[in-house]
């Protein structure tokens, strides 16, 4: 071969590329999933038909998808607001647990006869504060010592997980139901349960979408949003412009933590009805939220459809066992979607150039060569 491929950055991709790349990435992820299903000895078309039936065909399936998408919208937003400011918090997982702990604790502490509206407002606030305070444990060192937030938030996730486990499995804490044979959380009163829209779909979904719209507006049209974008671009310039970077770090991390805390509250109030450490940690909602935010390119409005897509994939696993495909394939598919979309992303900001002769080639940018 006399010519070779090289990569060049580009300013703005044509519309066809901007639409084609994400769609192509999704198709590629689906094909990769099909190969795995085929190797596992089942028919991919049959598997995808069953998956569509459990997730998007018919209203009942749709409600299941939306229930699973709800926490992902909120954790996706939690990551998106921070990442836009280049604050790389990966603490949504732990902040979500703290939100669930605070909300379930308050729900069983308040009198069961508390009016529903007051009860719901109180536990949402408790969840948001719980998540925000947990985030503050990482935000304060970040603001004052410039401590790497990736590591602190990551560590705090596991502290929160084991704390939650301790409350239910390791102790006779206030959260644990003393009458149950097996360790489980006290059931919250009915007044603390989110009202239902249809089947198991609760109003938490509406709350999540509204939060997404509000955040989109905040980032676009308020000083706060402008400053957070500017700080993301250059801390030095922001300081020179007189912005209080410290306060911004604290506020964006607190907001991110509050969003994750609300996600935890909604899981307790709309789905689980008690503090259930296994159920709430199984889906890794916080980590998946980071993936959601990345696929949505950190756009709050984009987070909603991406979360619904991943929710649909998660919902689709239910009936796969009937054709001998393990339901775990859906986690694999979620990951594959992300891998393909993320690599597709590259082609929106770069283009491949075929050169017939390239004497001044840069080997740095040649992965195939680097591997050889």
């Amino acid at each position: 071969m006399s010519g070779r491929l090289s990569i060049a950055p580009r300013a703005r991709a044509p519309v066809a590329v901007r639409l084609g790349v994400p769609i192509g990435s999704l198709i590629a992820a689906g094909l990769a999933g099909a190969v795995v299903i085929l190797i596992a000895g089942a028919s991919p078309t049959e598997a995808y038909r069953i998956m569509a039936e459990s997730s998007v065909v018919g209203w009942r399936s749709v409600t299941r998808t939306l229930v699973l998408a709800t926490p992902l919208i909120l954790t996706g937003l939690a990551a998106a607001v921070a990442f836009r400011m280049r604050v790389w918090t990966i603490g949504a997982e732990g902040q979500l647990y703290l939100g669930a702990i605070a909300a379930s604790g308050l729900a069983v502490a308040l009198p069961a006869g508390t009016p529903k509206l007051i009860m719901l407002a109180a536990i949402m606030l408790a969840g948001a504060v719980g998540g925000a305070l947990w985030a503050a444990l990482a935000a304060v060192p970040k603001a004052y010592f410039n401590t790497n937030e990736v590591i602190t938030t990551l560590m705090l996730n596991f502290v929160a997980l084991y704390l939650m486990n301790y409350l239910i499995f390791g102790s006779g804490s206030f959260w644990r139901d003393p009458d149950a044979t097996f360790p489980q959380g006290k059931i919250i009163p009915e007044s603390a349960e989110l009202p239902v829209i249809s089947y198991r779909l609760h109003y938490g979904f509406v709350i999540a979408v509204l939060v997404a719209v509000v955040l989109w507006w905040m980032l676009r049209s308020t000083t706060w949003g402008f400053e957070s974008r500017t700080i993301g671009d250059s801390i030095a310039a922001s300081l020179y412009a007189g912005m209080s970077v410290k306060v911004k770090f604290l506020s964006v991390l607190a907001l991110s933590g509050a969003l994750a805390g609300i996600a935890g509250t909604i899981e307790v109030s709309g789905v689980l009805t008690n503090l259930d450490p296994r159920a709430i940690s199984a889906a890794e909602l916080g980590f998946t939220g980071i993936v959601v935010a990345a696929v949505a390119r950190l756009n709050p409005l984009g987070v909603v459809p991406v979360a619904i897509l991943l929710g649909a994939v998660a919902a689709s696993g239910t009936n796969l066992q009937t054709i001998g495909v393990a339901a775990e394939v859906v986690f694999l598919l979620q990951g594959l979607i992300f891998l393909f979309v993320a690599s597709g992303e590259f082609f929106l900001t770069h283009r491949l150039v075929f050169r017939s002769a390239a004497p001044t080639e840069q080997p740095q940018d040649q992965p195939s060569e680097a591997l050889a």
Partner: protein, 315 residues
């Protein structure tokens, strides 16, 4: 005396710490090149399932370990492609690999007519040294009672330490991690070195998962690492990216994992949740303390370019 609680718990701490040790040694090499890898948990799981399957098929320890390492390295290749070549955010790429690796391994483990979750291990991992040595008081079980793979991990610790501090290759690796621009100017291929050590590191994580599935537990279950990959991430930070310290840290972690049982036997009730929490709390405190104290941070701090993609044009 070799049956005493103390000696048994030291032995089990060493065994329990070994999978994390393999993964941490790999991660040190990867991160010394400037590539952050949060996907260790996924790599260990894929390494574990690949090794377990190979063990069932071939009943050969070495083939199983190799397969486990290669399983981890495949995820390492994806991480390298995404984060080095396509410049995807390294945090996001790593987390995606945790999801992919967890999904893939639990899918594989529960697929088929006789899923691996219901299969017994085909590989025997026996003690290496003669019984006379193993029966010596105290030192017998603690030092001489292990299998060949565990002894191999000690050799690898020494080899990694030697490589990092005493060879040109190690110097190149550290240069790329500290200042890729200067390393590039000095004629080193930043991309090639980062690819190589991302793959080697992922291989280590895969071997860690393999040892966990084959020797420590001997069975396969979904998510069997139970956070060991995240522990590796924490221990590497805690050890300041140093192989000898990570050996110590791995065994302390192993002791924490088994301390709950030990204390229970001794009649002391301690919530195992707090023992499990300890490595993460300690790492959190150390990282905050180091950042508040710049002199100390310089000694124990991360490779300067950790987590930052390198691109010639952007310099």
């Amino acid at each position: 005396m070799n049956d005493s609680v103390l000696i048994l718990s030291i032995v089990s701490a060493i065994v329990a710490g070994t999978p994390v040790l393999f993964a941490s040694l790999g991660l040190i090499l990867t991160e010394r090149s400037g590539v952050m890898n949060l996907g260790v948990e996924g790599m260990m799981l894929v390494g574990g399932i690949t090794a377990f399957w190979t063990g069932v098929q071939t009943e050969n320890l070495w083939l199983a370990l190799l397969a486990g390492g290669l399983g981890g390295a495949v995820l390492g290749l994806i991480h390298a492609l995404l984060s080095i070549s396509l410049r995807v955010n390294q945090i996001v790429s790593g987390l995606a690999l945790v999801i992919v690796g967890g999904g893939f391994s639990s899918f594989w483990g529960s697929s088929g007519d006789t899923p691996l979750t219901q299969t017994t291990n085909g590989v025997k991992v026996d003690p290496l040294l003669p019984e006379a040595l193993r029966d010596l008081p105290a030192v017998g079980p603690i030092l001489f009672g292990h299998d060949i793979v565990l002894y191999g991990s000690w050799l690898i610790v020494a080899a990694v330490a030697y490589f990092l501090y005493r060879t040109t290759g190690g110097l190149s690796l550290r240069a790329v991690g500290e200042d890729p621009g200067a390393a590039d100017a000095a004629g080193l291929s930043v991309t090639r070195i980062r690819y190589l050590f991302t793959l080697i590191g992922a291989f280590g994580a895969g071997v860690g998962g393999a040892y966990l599935a084959l020797a420590v537990l001997g069975t396969w279950q979904a998510g069997l690492t139970a956070g060991a990959g995240w522990i590796a991430v924490a221990l590497v930070i805690l050890s300041g990216w140093r192989p000898l310290l990570v050996l110590l840290a791995s065994y302390v972690f192993g002791a924490l994992r088994t301390l709950g049982f030990t204390l229970q036997i001794a009649g002391v009730e301690v919530a195992s949740d707090f023992l499990n929490m300890a490595p993460f709390v300690v790492t959190f405190i150390v990282v905050v303390a180091a950042s508040a104290n710049p002199d100390w941070a310089r000694k124990v701090g991360a490779p300067a370019s950790l987590g930052e993609p390198y691109s010639r044009e952007a310099r």
